[in-house]
């Protein structure tokens, strides 16, 4: 890499030190760093491996960090090298060598960064599709589903079959509730899941935008009003997991969290059947299970108003049949 004109502005500096030792230092440090990231940090990388989606995200983070390590080390080493060796000596008022560019270096850089970036895009796409969408909400028509799992029955569920467990997550201001259609459609404030069974989360909202984030399960899906957002995962280990609302939804957004639990399949069945019985009286009052709910537009809601002769929508929300008139 030669300067484009003889150094009329000061003696050549560096030479072997810069052209040999700098790359060598970079390579050595990068190898050590990448190995440390891959082997020591990798197994402890967030979000852990409690589920398929979390494990695939953990792998993603590990690969991304391993590839990022040489880049970070390279730039930091270079900047430190510049600060150490390429300073202007006191009293020296001359300029440095007039180097305008170097086509080979520039071309190598452009090609190198393009290769890394395209690899990461391909890798990311693979890691998105194969683990059934990697826990991200896919909207009402999901295209990446868990292999071998189907939605064959919405009215019952037994562990060990290919029928996928449906859990509806309802976000409202300011709590999450969970509905299990395959157990009679009961609704609870407590999220329990069986281990080693694929789960389909159907996330929706009754009012504003919330977001269902089960951190150690690696699931995040926005809860939108009037829309169904589907996300998949399969839990590998039993234990507790934090559920937090991840989209600012009003005053108590910061307090909108609870704890879910992954238990064995038999414990889950026992809990579901017991809760179904215990909540039977309020399950009768709930609207029929659906992908989305529009609380302003349900026929049995109107019964109250008709009975009482009250006009306008109770609760003050816009009634689509009777918009507020000036």
């Amino acid at each position: 890499m030669a300067a484009e004109s003889p150094a009329a502005a000061g003696p050549q500096i560096g030479g072997r030190r810069d052209r040999f030792w700098l790359p060598v230092a970079w390579i050595v440090l990068s190898v050590i760093g990448s190995l440390l990231v891959l082997l020591v940090w990798g197994p402890h990388m967030p979000p852990g491996d409690q589920s398929t989606s979390a494990a695939s995200q953990q792998f993603d983070f590990t690969i991304l960090a391993t590839i990022a390590t040489p880049v970070v080390i390279g730039v930091l080493l270079y900047l430190g090298w510049a600060l150490t060796f390429w300073r202007q000596k006191p009293g020296d008022e001359t300029d440095a060598a007039p180097l305008h560019g170097n086509t080979k270096i520039q071309a190598t850089w452009i090609v190198g960064t393009a290769v890394i970036v395209l690899f990461l895009a391909a890798f990311g796409t693979y890691e998105l599709i194969v683990p059934a969408g990697a826990g991200a909400g896919q909207g009402p028509q999901p295209i990446w589903k868990p292999a071998g799992a189907t939605t064959s029955s919405l009215t019952s569920w037994t562990p060990g079959t290919s029928n996928i467990l449906q859990v509806q997550v309802i976000g409202q201001q300011w709590a999450f509730t969970y509905r299990y259609p395959q157990f009679g459609g009961f609704e609870t404030t407590q999220l329990m899941l069986p281990v080693d069974e694929p789960v389909q989360f159907n996330v929706t909202s009754l009012d504003v935008i919330h977001s269902f984030w089960a951190y150690t399960l690696g699931v995040k899906a926005d809860a939108n009003p009037g829309l169904n957002n589907v996300a998949y995962t399969t839990a590998y280990h039993t234990g507790y997991f934090q559920v937090r609302c991840d989209e600012l939804c009003g005053i108590w957004h910061g307090s909108m969290y609870d704890t879910g639990e992954v238990v064995s399949a038999s414990a889950f069945m026992k809990w579901a059947q017991a809760t179904r019985v215990q909540l039977a009286d309020v399950t009768k009052l709930l609207p029929p299970y659906a992908d989305t709910y529009d609380p302003t537009n349900l026929s049995n809601l109107g019964a109250v108003n008709v009975k009482l002769g009250l006009v306008g929508a109770g609760g003050g929300y816009y009634n689509p049949a009777d918009p507020e008139q000036p």
């Binding site: 991304l64 305008h100 960064t113 895009a121 990697a134 995040k220 600012l248």
Partner: protein
């Protein structure tokens, strides 16, 4: 090249008929900030009354005790009154009446400190107005950040009520992202671009001054939200929460719309100035990199900001006129808002990043005493970033439930945008190669820019990966990412630019020792504040929450203490800035950094019409180390020799 065209109605300096004597200008008797405030108050009262007159019969207003119509109309009339009071429409009215208007080079009224409180046509005055304004907005937002970190010291004990916390979070974010969009283009772009390209003026001086004077209006309207109960949506203003929110939300929507108009005007003016007002010999290949950055930023502003203004307008009509753009129960869609907002929001962050690139590319050659390595690569990088920035916005919406089959595409485009961003690093590293670094305060900030933007950029690549984004979206990881790129990048470059150009624009030097103390405390405190936030986010803490898992308290406390230290470093800067400009006032030489840029060839501060004669540019500004390089420009080209100069500089033949 259009340099000196004047409309026929332009008059000689001094106003009035040719030959008239200049009038003495008493500040208080002429339009200025004092009349603007009076106009604003009258406007607000009028608008509020009109809104009550229109809306008081509406059932919705009666039951909620909340008249958004009055507030919105009050603000709109406030802005009109403010502008009338400032005298913005004076020339418009004069032209309609067929009377002579003020000429752009009539600076007889610009004497003393009063000129900074007026609607002036001198781009240098506008630049300094912007500088002081941006510093005020930045420090207000910074104080709000200190309030946020105070609340986050404990996961369960609350210093403020939940409404106040969300108010403060929203105001901090909006203050920074909204008011600071023009943080570089306003002060440095408006002041320096004409001088850097060899022009005596900008293309549209009135539009430029208008773009500034809308900002204090937007600032005060945004702050008025505190008096109206605040807004609970954060700076992103997601519907339907923004439609549900109380009166403070109107302040947000109006202020954001107003700033949107301001930045469109500023961008438009700068683009036309750069394209049309370059001096002879200022070829595109000799343009300073800062000017390239201003050009690309200007394009982004003009193309992206209108979408924002449209989105804010829809929020206002949904809240006041009972439209249902964003209410899904009535046929609207909450996704519509998200798309409109982020279609603007993504170019917005590049509007914030590109000027930072421009400043550091400007600083590096001066303090390494080498040409900029790969000039064309740098310019290509800026254009690449600007163009690609319109194709990546869905990455803010990966988990929103929008159609998933576009996700690999947006993952690809977002990953691709890191390639032109990498060009800037290539250019910087090449410029550093075997250089002669002078460790002045501006260079320290420029190097810190690259350190910080490295982490910001890499974390951006993490976020562009959809599976990784499932955990990182909406968490403190994203917060750390954008604080590293925007604060670690743009704001560090902003301070570097202040230390570099203040001797030129104000004619005084800032204290070097205090500058170095400011730099080191800011750099260390900044990294100490934001590096742990990557971990905090990956460990499961969402954004904008005031209660978090108890095991994260140690990290949060470390971050809060570091944030207080960061605030302290800003106090060192304020002390340095205020004392240097008000008390010490050490005169700066014309070219204290021994730089080649055209702005350094004029006196410090520049004379009122920049150049005695339009210069002829002979060479680029980065030709360090080359003994055969021509000086950057001939400031006194002999009359009638322009054609000869063009031949000598190689432009023709």
């Amino acid at each position: 090249m259009a340099i000196e065209t004047q409309p026929d109605s332009a008059q000689a300096p001094g106003g009035g008929d040719p030959g008239a004597t200049p009038r003495q200008h008493n500040f208080w008797l002429h339009p200025g900030i004092h009349t603007a405030i009076i106009g604003a108050i009258i406007g607000y009262i009028l608008g509020h009354w009109l809104g009550n007159f229109i809306g008081s019969q509406y059932q919705q207003v009666g039951t909620s005790d909340d008249n958004d119509i009055a507030i919105v109309l009050g603000f709109c009339f406030l802005v009109v009154g403010w502008l009338i009071g400032l005298g913005v429409f004076d020339d418009v009215v004069r032209q309609m009446l067929g009377r002579p208007i003020r000429s752009w080079d009539d600076h007889s009224a610009n004497v003393g400190l009063g000129k900074y409180f007026r609607y002036t046509l001198d781009h240098k005055v506008v630049g300094l107005q912007y500088l002081i304004g941006m510093l005020i907005y930045f420090f207000t937002g910074g104080l709000l950040a200190i309030a946020i970190r105070t609340e986050l010291l404990s996961p369960t004990y609350h210093v403020m009520s939940p409404t106040t916390y969300l108010e403060v979070v929203g105001e901090h974010g909006t203050m920074m992202m909204m008011m600071m969009t023009s943080v570089i283009l306003g002060p440095f772009g408006n002041y320096l671009v004409p001088i850097m390209i060899g022009s005596k003026r900008v293309a549209f001086p009135r539009i430029e001054a208008l773009s500034f004077w809308l900002t204090p209006c937007a600032f005060l309207i945004l702050l008025s939200s505190f008096l109206l109960g605040g807004f609970p949506t954060g700076w992103t203003g997601y519907a339907p929460l923004s439609i549900q929110a109380g009166e403070g939300m109107d302040s947000y929507a109006v202020a954001f719309g107003l700033m949107g108009i301001s930045i469109i005007l500023a961008g438009f003016n700068i683009v036309v100035t750069i394209i049309c007002y370059r001096a002879p010999g200022m070829r595109w290949s000799r343009l300073p990199m800062f000017v390239w950055a201003m050009l690309t930023t200007g394009f982004l502003l003009v193309l992206a900001a209108p979408v924002l203004v449209g989105g804010m307008y829809m929020i206002i009509t949904d809240r006041t006129a009972q439209t249902a753009f964003f209410i899904s129960q009535l046929g609207g869609s909450s996704y519509l808002y998200e798309d409109l907002f982020w279609f603007f929001g993504h170019p917005e962050v590049y509007i914030l990043a590109l000027p930072g690139f421009g400043i550091v590319c400007e600083l590096l050659p001066v303090f390494t005493r080498k040409p900029l390595f790969g000039y064309k690569t740098a310019a290509a990088g800026m254009f690449g970033v600007a163009i690609l920035s319109f194709f990546v916005w869905q990455h803010h919406l990966f988990d929103s439930g929008m159609d998933p089959d576009m996700r690999p595409l947006f993952m690809l485009t977002t990953e691709l945008i890191s390639i032109p961003t990498g060009f800037i690093f290539l250019v910087a590293l090449g410029t550093f190669w075997q250089a002669k670094l002078r460790l002045t305060v501006p260079l320290l900030f420029a190097m810190a820019f690259f350190f910080n933007f490295l982490f910001g950029g890499i974390s951006g690549v993490f976020l562009s990966d959809v599976p990784a984004d499932t955990t990182a979206h909406g968490s403190f990881f994203v917060m750390a990412h954008f604080h590293y790129t925007i604060m670690g990048g743009l704001i560090f470059a902003f301070f570097g630019g202040i230390y570099y150009w203040l001797p030129k624009v104000m004619g005084i030097t800032l204290n070097e020792r205090l500058g170095k103390i400011h730099f080191w405390t800011m750099f260390l405190a900044f990294n100490s504040t934001f590096m742990p936030l990557f971990a905090v986010g990956l460990l499961g803490q969402p954004r904008r929450v005031w209660e978090y898992a108890a095991n994260l308290q140690t990290l949060n406390d470390w971050v809060s203490i570091s944030a207080f230290c960061l605030g302290g470093s800003m106090c060192i800067f304020i002390f340095n800035f205020v004392m240097s400009t008000v008390i010490w006032r050490r005169r700066a030489p014309q070219n204290p950094w021994n730089a080649r840029g055209l702005e350094w060839q004029v006196p410090s501060p520049p004379p009122v019409d920049n150049f005695a004669q339009i210069p002829v540019v002979l060479a680029g500004p980065y030709e360090y180390g080359d003994p055969d390089a021509l000086p950057v420009a001939d400031l006194h080209p002999p009359a009638g020799v322009i054609a000869g100069a063009l031949v000598r500089s190689g432009m023709e033949g």
